[in-house]
Symmetry: C2
Subunit: 239 residues, 2 copies
């Protein structure tokens, strides 16, 4: 057994059983008492707080406060979490927001710098507001997981986006547009894009978009997006 894996095993055993003795641990991982004591010292160096009581009935005890959770997330999962929280802020007052923010900030800090830049650029295209109450939500459907990576590449590399769209009346069309922004009006999500075929801005409800496909063409320019009532069904648009 490797030195590192043995120390991990010791930490796991300490977490499970409230109190243990050095002899027990030695039997568990089949190592000598001396080695266990050295490993305990190493764990303490790594920041684990391990109380020890000498004498009969004594033993080792891991302070659970000192154990930090270190999940391993992929970049896409971090994207999804941050976008979700951005949407939640739009929904109203977010309880315990400061704690959740602290957690998200830590998650952000762990991103590699290029991914962090991408993330900020992506979130810059995100606008949140409150939906006007008279909106019809009867045909709302859950969003497809394919949308996120497609939108990511389209926004980050500035590509034309082609997709099938089913409008409010249910008639399907194939669109090829310049993606400019995303608008969150919970529970609805919109893609705000310039439609070259119509020479005008259009907003597309995301749950009506299927089979999105970023094209090779990156020749279009960023435009100033007019967030006005005649373009999007929003109320009180704010960042």
């Amino acid at each position: 057994m490797n030195s590192r894996t043995r120390q991990d095993a010791l930490a796991r055993h300490l977490r499970r059983s409230g109190t243990t003795t050095v002899a027990e641990l030695a039997a568990k991982v089949s190592a000598s008492r001396r080695t266990i004591l050295r490993d305990i010292a190493a764990l303490r160096d790594q920041g684990f707080v391990i109380h020890s009581d000498p004498g009969r009935g004594g033993g080792l005890q891991l302070d659970p406060q000192s154990v930090q959770t270190t999940p391993r997330l992929t970049v896409a999962e971090v994207f999804a979490l941050l976008i979700s929280v951005a949407a939640m802020r739009a929904a109203g007052n977010l309880p315990f927001a400061s704690l959740a923010d602290a957690g998200l900030a830590k998650i952000e800090r762990a991103l590699p710098p290029d991914k962090l830049r991408d993330l900020r650029r992506f979130l810059d295209c995100l606008h949140v507001g409150q939906l006007a109450p008279e909106q019809d939500l009867s045909d709302l459907r859950p969003l497809d997981a394919i949308l996120l990576p497609a939108f990511e590449t389209a926004f980050l590399t500035g590509r034309l986006l082609r997709f099938h769209y089913r409008d409010a009346k249910g008639s399907p069309t194939l669109r090829t547009v310049e993606p400019q922004a995303m608008l969150i009006l919970p529970p609805l999500w919109y893609l705000v894009a310039w439609d070259p075929a119509r020479d005008a801005f259009r907003h597309f409800r995301m749950d009506r978009i299927t089979t999105p496909e970023p094209l090779e063409d990156t020749s279009f320019r960023r435009r100033h997006v007019p967030f006005a009532a005649d373009v999007c069904p929003y109320r009180d648009l704010k960042r």
Copy 2:
């Protein structure tokens, strides 16, 4: 230099510089070519995807997709994130929910088992629904960060909770109640509790609660919470 720190240094250098050769890395950490190649193999074993091109102009290239971020979160932050997402689900359809869920599942898995049990018990007391539209939201205030730890201890250890409350008319009272459940009707949060002084269930809007204080008394019992319109201003209550 330690074997592990050297491998970390190599990973860092690979992340920064797009393409590198073995010879460059060897010069960087002043180790032999053979050692570098062994370290590269170890990194690949650890899950890093490193492309390699033989021949002139070739070299090593780290696939950024394979780099996982490993933030260090405290238990309270994980609580806050999970509660926030529970609230968000209540707000409507959650975009990219499957990805965010995968991230949260990883975060949960990294929790120590006793904390995970606590978390599940706490979330069991959480009920979400949709607010009836006629509700008055004019005096909505952000929640105090002190509430979360107080509610945590009250629910997990089953203690009486004492707090100051300011009702809809603005008149302040001091309450001592048995906390039974939490109700989320975005953007409002309610504490559902049995009030022994009135011998009945009461719901308290959380943003009207100040200075919560868990008492020593743990003698009360869990009750069946009636989520009915006459108790809570909810619509379509669902888990």
